[in-house]
């Protein structure tokens, strides 16, 4: 089978990308960018670089597709995926740079919604992540993915996994330790609880043990990969695997859109939302989707959510062993022996190990100076690197003083007072406390802006870390638009009957209980 389809589409995509770059770089787009927010428009740097590089790749690839000789084989198979990859990428670009900002402009013009004090696009989380996924769903279900792009659309999961691995570069050891402790407790409770409830409900509703086993792994651990890993130990049939994946997909897609809306309505902090999404949403990709939908222009929520998600994947071997023992006890007729150790070894997701590897590599200081995470401008003298111009002005100090009454935690009050007295953040502990205060969203937006400025004055992000953030954002944007293109109505229709009922009950329980636990126990900073 020859996968490359002779089509001018890839060349056209390349030309469109180059045209976007040219118009942005030459200033032809400046009027439109002014309309989209002017100085507040965040993507100008991306507009004047990314479409140039990827436009050249797409145009050259397009020429190869049109004029190259394509024979069946490895080169044809993998190179034909470029067209689909670029198809996803140009949609992600158009949505992030133009469509989402345009929707924000229209929504702002419509005014705030009732008593919520928020614009409709903020309330519904209509940002580039959500719109990108919806665009993917619409394309595949209404227009269908073009034939020339079909092979490459299957690259989206590779993008998501690469993004998760690279996320490892962004954590500090202290952050990982604090988040890890909390996630182990929450994930341990909710994963084991979900598996137990599904198995119990399955027995009560008399569904086959193999169905109950595979559904429990999918609902409890991490969706599709857990389903695939658990399938051999409970001898699940293909149709049972399909039912489970359909149920998870149906539930996960709903969660991906509903979680950010609930998070916004409840005013959740980044840490709280990340912990909730990482615990309550079933599938890894949808966890990332919800986290980025909640905080589209920052990576803090995604970082928290992924730690919870990775902790969940690490529980997978325990669940596989549990299900193996459970299944053998319940099915006396089991004759075929399954090597549980081998199943775990063969099915354990290696990308999680990749994440740990990149974290270890980053911890050596190879990507950022050793003092990157510590900050280095806390000294009061200019010799220590701090610029006098960064000290807070008296009007800024007044805004912060006015907000003091709203701060309840003593450590934050003290840190804020020191900031007001000195005009700058004085220590790493104060910086952490003040960042927690920003995340808690208890101060006015003006006060939060001043706090963010004070934070930036003392802690500069290393260039390499900035570059990693950009790569990660785009890998996830790419992966999630592609994920949307894989959400077909036919695949969701596979859910049904008793597995769907059990899935809905356990999924709802997990989402609601984890929300209650997060709101009660998770502080804004950890």
């Amino acid at each position: 089978m020859v996968y490359t389809k002779k089509s001018p589409a890839l060349l056209i995509i390349g030309v469109i990308m180059l045209a976007i770059w040219f118009m942005a770089d030459s200033g032809a787009l400046s009027g439109y960018i002014e309309h989209l927010g002017g100085k507040k428009y965040k993507y100008f740097t991306e507009l004047t670089s990314m479409p140039l590089y990827f436009g050249i790749i797409a145009a050259l690839g397009g020429l190869w597709v049109l004029f190259g000789a394509h024979k069946e084989g490895q080169l044809d198979y993998y190179s034909s995926a470029i067209a689909g990859g670029m198809f996803i990428l140009i949609i992600a670009m158009l949505v992030r740079w133009f469509i989402a900002p345009e929707i924000a402009v229209i929504s702002t013009m419509m005014g705030k919604v009732g008593d919520t004090g928020k614009y409709i696009h903020k309330l519904l989380g209509l940002n580039y992540v959500v719109i990108g996924i919806v665009a993917g769903i619409v394309i595949v279900n209404v227009f269908r993915v073009p034939e020339w792009a079909e092979n490459g659309v299957r690259l989206s999961r590779l993008g998501l996994k690469t993004g998760v691995i690279l996320l490892g570069t962004l954590y500090s050891a202290a952050e990982l330790k604090n988040l890890g402790g909390l996630s182990i407790i929450m994930i341990g409770f909710f994963v084991l609880g979900s598996v137990g409830i599904v198995l119990w409900m399955g027995a009560r509703m008399k569904i086959p043990n193999s169905m109950g086993g595979v559904l429990s792994a999918g609902m409890g651990v991490c969706g599709v990969s857990a389903t695939v890993a658990a399938a051999p130990v409970v001898q699940a049939k293909s149709v049972e695997i399909a039912y489970t994946i359909g149920t998870i997909l149906l539930w996960g897609v709903g969660c991906m859109f509903i979680f950010p809306i609930v998070g916004n309505l409840l005013g959740m902090s980044h840490v709280q939302f990340g912990a909730w999404a990482g615990t309550g949403i079933l599938n890894s990709a949808q966890v990332a989707g919800a986290a980025l939908a909640f905080q589209p222009d920052g990576i803090e929520t995604l970082k928290v959510a992924e730690i919870f998600n990775i902790t969940r994947v690490l529980v997978l071997p325990i669940i596989v062993i549990w299900l193996a023992v459970w299944y053998v006890k319940r099915e006396e007729s089991v004759t075929e022996t399954v090597n549980v150790g081998r199943v775990i070894f063969e099915k354990f997701p290696v990308f999680v190990i990749g994440f740990i590897l990149l974290f270890a590599l980053s911890s050596t200081g190879v990507f950022a100076p050793a003092n990157h995470y510590k900050g280095k401008y806390f000294g009061n003298t200019t010799e220590s690197g701090f610029k006098e111009s960064k000290v807070l002005k008296s009007d800024q100090r007044s805004v912060l003083s006015a907000g003091m009454a709203q701060v309840q935690r003593q450590d934050r009050k003290d840190a804020l007072q020191r900031l007001i007295d000195n005009g700058k953040v004085m220590s790493i502990e104060d910086d952490d406390a003040l960042r927690g205060l920003i995340n808690a969203k208890v101060l006015s937006s003006d006060a939060n802006k001043i706090l963010k400025g004070a934070h930036k004055a003392v802690r500069h992000t290393a260039k390499k870390i900035k570059a990693f953030r950009e790569w990660i954002t785009w890998l996830f944007a790419f992966g999630l638009v592609g994920l949307g293109m894989q959400i077909t109505l036919s695949s969701m229709k596979q859910a049904g009957g008793q597995p769907a009922i059990i899935g809905a009950v356990v999924g709802s329980l997990k989402a609601v209980l984890s929300l209650i636990v997060v709101m009660m126990l998770v502080s804004e900073t950890i």
Binding site: I165, T169, I353, G354, L361, K464, A467, S491
Partner: protein, 41 residues
């Protein structure tokens, strides 16, 4: 699933033959990007 019939290699969700292979490719890609970032910035 009907999507699977369109391809004689990989699965409906991935161009790679197995999850393990996709994981290794993601790891390789991540290391290439990390090396590129290390050199370029």
């Amino acid at each position: 699933m009907s999507e699977e019939k369109k391809f004689d290699r990989g699965s409906a969700l991935s161009i790679f033959g197995s999850d393990r292979r996709e994981d290794f490719m993601a790891l390789l890609l991540a290391l290439v990007i990390a090396f590129g970032v290390y050199l370029a910035y």
